[in-house]
Point group: C2
Chain length 863, copies 2
């Protein structure tokens, strides 16, 4: 059996799992010869024993605690409960990962009516002794015996009023002694007894730490941050010999970071409070001074602190966040841990530490919390400003924007012409609204999910967007929307934050994004280290340009349908869809093909030298049609005929209907024109000397026969063009379960696979993203039925079927395999893709830096 | 290398693949010592060589043909092209499986200007010889040289007019000789030459047979019947010494079945034509006589024929369909093959042959085409009556019905009250229409697929139903519907055939179903032989009763939601759905639970002693709501509030939305009340001494955590009841892909799996059945992209993922696994289920006999 208790000298500072974070730090600092008060750790295993044992401390633990205390007595020459030189201890919780909500600290444990007198004598400061006693009774009552802390606080306030003083430390010895009596009475009134035996105090305090592990707040916290029991693994208890920062003006206590956690500057950052115990800093009764003051007031102590911090940084190769106490001029270290930093500082310190030779590039990348990097790439609300949102929807495209509410597409364009920043607010959007997207600074819809039209279009344009904001209801006629009782008229200013889905009335301060040189440096290191390729999902030259500037080496998903949205094309597209005559359809397609060819030329030019994977038409045709109430007669079609055609095209579950390759098979001319446009664009560019590398990708494929039909079209078009186009790869999305199950057959016919994990996840779960994400999915996550949103992070079951497809697809040949679902920009999904052996991930342009960093982390982690 | 040519003596009559059906029959009859004219077979391999060789006959074939002809010459003492005793042959195609559309027969090959004279001399019948010559030139011109047959026919008619005769055989020698010259001129006018060399004639005829293999009609036929190249395997060519049925009144030709193919009666059935060649029978110029006449006219020949037929039946152990020719009193057998029979005869002859000791029970079951059995179970249009349908939809529930068209639910009920047979015709149906279903004899909808509301409800009730009949358009205001230009007013009579989707104007003669004693006998043998259990999908006591009478041993799917449809329950259900208040919801649920409990009691009672698998609520709640335009204020909810709730419940892809177990998790009270109703029903019955065995089944499960939540509810309800309910099994449908992928985890928590292959197929294909089945799916099948409709026959990829689930589910325990999708009634799907090792299939009540037979066939086939 493992030992239940280890002293700081014995503990292995690397074993955070057993010792908890705090205990491991104390043990490690002891081992490094730093000034740490003596103490010992009751391990996390004991916590698990406690719960396995039906919340009973294990037999024999008390004896072991007594032994450990005896050793402290030997070391200090003091005695626990002794009435000469009493040993006092603090009891602190400490889990393997830092976790608020658990029991904090009980100081001064070991005091009773006898030892307090001894302490008074020894310190020669009865006021100090009774203040310590008063604090202990108060903390013990609150934390261990669960007496409402307000009762003690009120008595303290009453006493201060009575004595005519303002601050706690102004209370004199007599008052404190009186207060001790009053506090003890509180115990009695609550049917509790203050235990005078220090060992009893200690055992109760230890159990209180264990209990707090399952306290409501701690449990909530673990749930919120998805900390599984496996990772969390109980809390340890630290029992530390007391040192006092409140023994006069040569004493004090403080907290410092070894570098600035906001700016990353290499300089101690923090504060200290003279003549105080730690809790006084937290309580905020007195204002601490910046740490620089310590250099002036106690220069030797400051120097020692600087040296220790430097030693700790070199040892841990990580910025540290340390707590210390000065007792009568002597420095004691009470805690050290890795500092929490903002994104900016995280990046800067990483690069600095590499340059200082403290860490290598791998370590620099490993320490980055890549999700935080997103904040450096978009406009964000200033976190210092505390605004209250009026509604919350689904954050569908990150970034923040402030502008004037407009509820109608045409008016949005007009207002934008007059130089207003417009936020387009609609129930949902359709292709006919897209011209307004180009003129708006942000989009807000009351319906739809992360794959709704508004979400996809906005994301492609890098436009902040909130969708499915069901808390607002729009009244188009009255030109207002209501959100939780607040009415916003068209023309009023709002701010939307697409990163998290919050809507604010009026404008709130925003912070501009900033790509620092350090971030660029880090990305270039990451690019060297990663093994996954990183491409972008981009449908426009602008998107492609941005992605390339961020380091994307190609486009993994270019959706041709987005090219239809411009107002000069949509009417042609609509006519093409409405007609049932193949020849007329071809006429419209020929006109569209010309537009598309030019769009594709621009994108291929921007991405010159890198592959651009172009997906043929995917959505069901009805998605492109105007709203029913906006249908009018066409030159060669009456309104009734058009509505009849609407009825024919209507679908009950459009997600699983007539779309993707199924359109290419029923209307082969559509795919033929698209393929021809792509190949013509390529030939024209190549003849101009531009190295265009398109790849043609077919969506929604479920069987090899489908892809054969389209491959024939592709080969025929290729043959009709007088140019060697053998370099143009032909491939398929893998987003239908059946494609995964028949991957080996499909691999016979294509040159690449690209996992469309958005649709694949929908199919594996039988979840329509738009119908579940804003509805029952949050409850599923809250209840722990799902660990996370499978549309953000790849589900293991989806990974399992991907693995089948990869193994089968590569069974007979070396196949290029990528992913172009949104998961391609999610760090833990990227890690899975790395482990699955994909060739590349494709992410939206703004996520490229994140993808590069995550890919590098995976390469480092998985060796 | 295999030999290209085999004689009838040499051929292995079991090798239909090599010899074709006709050749194999001729070889086998030769081996049995039956009177077969000599001949030889050019094998199917040669046909494949011909196509592999770019449509060129293989080198050396002609020499082999010459050798084979020489052997015929030796045997017959005649000479091919000889001007004394000329050898004439017929050339006939013959593929491994019978296939119309290929070249038929060329008779009298070997004739030319010289041999015709020899034939005239030898037969002593110049008229006969020139008639044979005229026929040969005509057939050869049409079949081998592709000259329009009408030209020859016109010349023949002209000649008859000229000679003042009516029938061909009335033309005399001179006229026929003249006709031969005219026919030869036709060749010249078409730039062709009549080949006088018999070997040249023969080689051209052989090539014509091979060419006809890829003729348009043959290819279409194979496509239609899904005959893959692997199965079809080319055609053989049979070259047979000519015998003549037209050599006078002691000659003739005929076709007989060894038993009656309609009634199954054990007696020769067929007809013959005196003094005729086979083609005369086909041409229908003269009326053949029933075969019984042969017994009178040529008693010895008849006796011989009866003996041969009996020998063939004993040999093949199968009813035979034979062709024969009598040449001057001598009987020759020209063909034998298994007889095609109707369902009735198939069943009767099977049972008879077992009783006669001709075959055993396994063989009796094996020979049944189970799909045809369905015709014995439902009312069907009389196949003798040739009616023209006015429209075709999707046959969703089999059987036929004649009745008065009614376009509205309320009027349907009124008309039915006045004793009219009502056919309910709607665009689509909703739960509020169900009361009219109970009063109608059939249902026809213009929209929706095989899983639409109308389809599912009608099937459950055994009501003939056609859905998705997009050829009709309903005008409710005018009270008419139009179908392909025909207008049907409300009140007019139509006949619908749910078996195939045809709609007829007026009434057409229908045949009543009949479960014969022979069928009962066959089913009882099948029940002994099968190893798969057979249960029924039934939601009503009537359905359960029917299923049990057919031999179902339990219910594999009882859908609780169908119990909500009665008009006394629907309003309560609607109120339950509309309210957002949990307590109010519980109030409504309590009322519903009482109804459900009684329904379940009835079903459990009918199925006493067998398991009844009850599925908890599955469809999304909005499916139960009345149409928007029928919404009115409720006592405690205004119309606007109700419509707001509609909006909240609305879904873009309801198939993948808030349904099944997801409802059970968001509204646990719904499942709790359902579980309690089931358990209360069980306890009440058991206390009355009725052996009720319910199983509780959860739909749409995708993760083990979902099923855990519901299992907790189940256990809690069980604990609250004072009765040992440990026999009640708790299980899950497997219809979500993720459930297949995590089957091992799920199997930890449940006692059975039941594959919901309807939904699973949808998910594997990303096909919404309702959106694809009536739309692009037919094109997919026509183009061969899919071999068959995966909603009718289990797709191999779906089988693959089922196998994963089965293997994983049973990895650690012995799990009961069944299937309750519609595939449970499809023979080839049942075969797959057998091979996958399922415990049972569950099919709709009317398909139970089919399922039992198919399960027995699988057990026999797979050993």
């Amino acid at each position: 059996m493992q030992r239940r208790i280890v002293s700081f000298e014995e503990g292995d500072g690397r074993d955070r799992r057993l010792l908890g974070g705090k205990g491991a730090g104390l043990a490690e600092m002891t081992r490094l010869g730093l000034p740490v008060p003596s103490g010992f750790i009751i391990t996390t295993e004991v916590c698990n024993e406690y719960y396995a044992n039906n919340k009973r401390l294990p037999d024999g633990l008390e004896e072991e605690v007594r032994d450990a205390i005896h050793k402290l007595e030997e070391k200090s020459g003091k005695k626990f409960g002794g009435n000469k030189s009493p040993l006092l201890v603090s009891v602190r919780s400490g889990a393997p990962i830092s976790m608020p909500g658990m029991m904090d600290t009980i100081l001064n444990l070991g005091l009773n009516d006898d030892t307090v007198e001894a302490l008074a004598r020894e310190s020669n400061d009865p006021r100090f002794a009774y203040d310590a006693y008063r604090r202990f009774i108060q903390m013990f009552g609150k934390i261990v015996l669960c007496i409402d802390e307000k009762i003690f606080a009120d008595l303290l306030d009453e006493m201060k009023r009575e004595k005519g003083v303002i601050y706690d430390h102004e209370l004199d010895y007599e008052s404190l002694k009186e207060l001790v009596i009053k506090f003890k009475n509180v115990y009695k009134e609550h049917g509790k007894t203050f235990p005078t035996d220090p060992y009893q105090q200690l055992m109760l305090a230890i159990e209180a730490v264990f209990k707090s592990w399952m306290g409501e707040r701690a449990v909530e916290y673990r749930k919120y941050y998805k900390i599984t029991p496996e990772i969390a693994h109980g809390t340890a208890v630290n029992v530390v010999t007391m040192v006092f920062g409140n023994l006069g003006n040569d004493s004090g206590t403080g907290v410092v970071f070894t570098r600035n956690p906001e700016s990353g500057e290499k300089r101690l950052y923090g504060e200290f409070l003279r003549n105080a115990q730690g809790e006084d800093v937290v309580a905020g009764v007195r204002t601490p001074e910046p740490i620089e003051r310590l250099a002036i007031e106690m220069p030797k102590v400051y120097e020692e602190l600087v040296a220790i911090c430097s030693k700790l940084e070199k040892h841990y190769r990580e910025v540290q966040d340390v707590e210390f106490t000065i007792e009568r001029g002597k420095l004691y270290m009470l805690q050290t841990r890795a500092a929490k930093m903002n994104a900016y500082s995280m990046v800067k310190t990483s690069v600095d530490m590499v340059n200082e030779g403290l860490i290598d590039k791998s370590k620099a990348i490993k320490r980055i919390d890549v999700e935080q990097i997103e904040r450096l790439l978009y406009k964000q609300p200033d976190p210092k400003y505390d605004a209250k949102p009026i509604a919350k929807g689904i954050g569908a495209s990150p970034g923040a924007a402030t502008g004037m509410v407009v509820l109608d597409t045409k008016r949005a364009i007009e207002f934008a012409k007059n130089n207003h920043n417009v936020i387009l607010v609609r129930e949902e959007t359709k292709p006919e609204d897209v011209p307004a997207f180009f003129k708006s600074v942000g989009v807000l819809t009351s319906r739809g999910g992360k794959t709704s039209h508004a979400a996809v279009v906005a994301r492609g344009m890098g436009l902040p967007c909130i969708v499915g904001c069901s808390e607002i209801s729009i009244d188009e006629e009255m030109r207002v929307f209501k959100a939780n009782g607040i009415t916003i008229r068209e023309g009023e200013i709002v701010t939307i934050v697409g990163t998290n889905g919050y809507v604010y009335k009026g404008s709130i301060p925003l912070i501009e994004p900033e790509i620092t040189n350090e971030l660029k440096q880090l990305l270039s290191w990451a690019s060297e280290l990663k093994r996954l390729g990183v491409r972008a999902n981009a449908d426009t030259p602008e998107g492609a340009k941005l992605a390339r500037s961020y380091g994307a080496k190609g486009i993994g998903l270019c959706r041709t349908e987005r090219m239809f949205n411009a107002s000069d094309r949509l009417p042609i597209l609509v006519s093409m869809i409405l007609t049932k005559d193949k020849e007329e359809r071809k006429k419209h397609l020929a006109r569209l093909a010309e537009f598309i060819k030019n769009d594709i030329k621009s994108i291929l030019t921007v991405m010159e030298g890198y592959p651009v994977t172009i997906r043929l038409l995917d959505p069901p045709l009805h998605e492109f049609l105007p709203r029913v109430d906006e249908v009018e007669d066409l030159p060669n079609m009456r309104r009734e005929e058009i509505l009849q055609r609407y009825k024919e095209l209507e679908e009950i579950n459009p997600m699983m209907g007539h779309r993707g390759v199924r359109l290419g098979i029923t209307y082969p001319e559509i795919y033929e024109y698209q393929i021809r446009a792509i190949l013509d664009a390529t030939v024209e560019l190549r003849r101009e000397g531009i190295n265009a590398i398109p790849q043609i990708m077919i969506p929604q494929v479920g069987s090899v026969e489908e892809i054969r039909v389209i491959k024939d079209i592709f080969e025929n078009v290729k043959r009709s063009i007088d140019y060697d186009l053998s370099f143009v790869k032909f491939g398929t999305m893998i987003e239908v379960v059946r494609a995964c199950l028949t991957a080996q057959e499909i691999a016979d016919v294509v040159e690449f696979f690209s996992f469309g994990t958005n649709d694949l996840t929908q199919a594996v779960f039988s979840f329509s993203r738009e119908d579940v994400e804003g509805k029952f999915l949050p409850l599923y996550i809250e209840k722990g039925i799902l660990k996370y949103n499978p549309f953000q992070t790849l589900d293991p079951a989806v990974g399992k079927i991907m693995k089948m497809a990869i193994d089968d697809g590569r069974a007979k040949r070396d196949l290029e395999i990528g992913i172009c679902g949104e998961h391609g920009g999610d760090p833990s999904s990227i890690d899975l893709c790395h482990r699955l052996g994909l060739n590349y991930v494709s992410a939206s342009p703004h996520r490229i830096p994140i993808a590069i960093l995550a890919a590098a982390q995976s390469a480092i982690k998985n060796g």
